[in-house]
Symmetry: C2
Subunit: 387 residues, 2 copies
């Protein structure tokens, strides 16, 4: 159920001492013993880009979309760390490359954790021999555990198709927390695909999953999704692979929402009837990120007034008379007025772990879906202090 669900891939996770807790904090995913294969990545659009993101982009450009391994650390994001940060990221790749016998630029690098503190590169270097020795064809779960920050459970996925498999590990929903920031995911597959096509497919899969996941509207300095494709299963149906990547990303995104810091609800917000898809997404994101609305979900309150007011403020085509709002399929607001509802059913729906909120704007055929969370006391507790 992880990156090592795909034959030919190995992984490991060890403790090198970045985290004060003593939990594992260094992970490695490799293809065979360092044989480069097709690789691509989708990265944060935040201009405050962490060093490992810059290095990944540089290496993928140098190799033209090839990699043999991904090294990941948790506990420190290596972000806002200047030139030293980039050298440290390169040093991580170089050390792994020496052990595996591949080129430095064939090793991709991800970091997650505190922003603005120098990476303890010596600890990482010391941990790499054990990390490489621990590589195992069943090591995916150890890798998934070693990239956890404030996650309470490791996130993993496996999608089996007739001719190939996609596996994956991930951590954290985007910017659940300011310092243990970042969403990271590594996907592996034995499907056969060239780098440009893989890039396009991965972008589409991310766009329909992780990019629809919004916990607090923030995008991290380190957000990274990587894909390694070995081609060892032979010729691959491209549509089937695109579909499998979407399924894998969606499964990981929902695991992230369910495990979002301090959240008690996972909310699936569907906007239909917008003038355009872009307007649907704007309205959906604004509403999902509104802290007043988030509070009402925490309180299991199906009050529609704030939903309508957010949509009205979203600078999209909007008419209070044409908007329809539903919770759990029950229409609570339509034709400019509150609607009568089955209160018991509605209460039951709001009390569940998953809330389904539908908004039809009655303006056109634009649609969008986002997955988000509520805003709880625990969220504040976890985010009010960094030290």
């Amino acid at each position: 159920m992880t990156v090592t669900s795909v034959s030919g891939f190995f992984a490991s996770g060890v403790t090198c001492g970045i985290k004060h807790s003593g939990d594992s904090d260094l992970a490695l995913v490799t293809h065979a013993d360092g044989v480069p294969i097709t690789a691509t990545g989708v990265f944060t659009s935040n201009k405050m880009t962490a060093a490992p993101v810059q290095i990944c982009k540089e290496y993928l450009s140098t190799t033209g979309g090839q990699a043999a391994a991904v090294i990941l650390n948790s506990g420190n994001a290596n972000a806002a760390t200047g030139e030293k940060g980039k050298n440290d990221a390169r040093a991580m790749a170089q050390s792994v490359a020496e052990h595996l016998g591949c080129k430095t630029e064939e090793v991709l690098v991800c970091s997650t954790g505190w922003i603005g503190y120098p990476l303890p590169i010596e600890k990482i270097k010391k941990g790499i021999p054990e990390l490489v020795e621990s590589l195992d064809s069943a090591g995916g779960l150890n890798a998934a555990k070693a990239i956890m920050t404030t996650d309470t459970v490791p996130k993993t996925v496996e999608i089996r198709k007739e001719t190939f498999t996609v596996g994956g590990i991930a951590k954290g929903a985007a910017m659940l927390e300011p310092n243990m920031a970042t969403m990271l995911a590594v996907l592996t597959t034995d499907a056969e695909i060239d780098a440009p096509t893989a890039t396009k497919m991965l972008q589409e899969a991310v766009s329909g999953s992780f990019n629809c996941l919004t916990v607090d509207g923030a995008e991290s300095t380190n957000d990274t999704v990587l894909l390694l494709a070995s081609g060892e299963s032979g010729p691959t149906n491209k549509e089937e692979l695109a579909e499998a990547l979407k399924e894998a990303c969606a499964a990981l995104a929902i695991q992230m929402a369910d495990d979002a810091e301090g959240s008690t609800k996972t909310v699936f917000l569907s906007v239909t009837g917008a003038a355009t898809d872009a307007e649907a997404l704007k309205g959906a994101r604004d509403t999902a990120n509104c802290q007043l609305v988030k509070c009402s979900w925490y309180g299991e309150d199906p009050y529609w007034g704030r939903i309508a007011a957010e949509m009205g403020a979203a600078d999209i085509a909007f008419d209070p008379e044409t908007i329809t709002i539903s919770y759990g399929g029950q229409v609570v607001y339509a034709h400019g007025e509150a609607q009568s509802v089955d209160k018991k059913l509605l209460k039951e729906h709001m009390a569940g772990r998953q809330i389904k909120l539908g908004v039809d704007l009655g303006q056109g055929s634009g649609t969008a879906q986002v997955v988000t969370t509520d805003l709880s006391h625990a969220y504040i507790d976890e985010n009010m202090r960094t030290s």
Copy 2:
């Protein structure tokens, strides 16, 4: 120190029974006994516009910028109430007009409170005779109290210039709370000004004050700022009046921030060095509305990582190497790295009621200022349930 600080204006506040608490909930501000004078307003840009906002705009258009009175109720926003809502708003104006002997369209209407519930118009109508009888040249504070919702103190202002006075009352910061929504302000002056010039001046004053106040990024269905100008002090220096209106609006805006629901900090965020003023404002607003950043203020944590990451994500010209971040005048981050600080001084600053946060983007000469608040447990408590 209120709307009745200006001679020629009268005000009152009474209990008509909209609020279950029994607190006063109906207010009236009039010029003399209903003699129309110059009037203008600035209203919410939310497309989910409440009935009283629609009626105010209609009346000001009909009269060409004249009004004799403003009636305001709290406890019910008369928003999302369809055609009945508009009829109810008109009925409020009509009833006051009959008592004062002016035209219906010379009475402006404001409502604040719950969204989506029919206005109890009969209670309001029954309260109007007492409301008119209570009009007093010292009644401004009663009016200010009667428009409070979740405010803990009435908000009032008086700006005395050599030849004229500006007085005002206000309630609530914009969308402090989803159901008791709305920022309302009524300003009075004896300065002489025509309606088009008054409109321009009021827009500028609002833009530099209330519109720089962001508590949670939401804009209410009912936000309204009204100005009544009698001209009784004779010819007025226009620049001086513009200045006085700015001062009055700024004073009310800061009172709102200080009294924002569940807030423990008022944060003055100044962005300089942006490519343009618009980019400075975008960065400032995104940062001020980021719930992670707000949590850190609540925790009195001067951590700059999230500030930098928000600016980096704001889709404005940004370079992690040129951004400088300071708290209370102390630089905490510059040249891409954390800076050493006087920890004791910094701790003292963060522990105060007011926090001063400075961000210089090092990109150009664009600037912006916003006033905002932290995000506390109490905010969630007050917003998690509406019933």
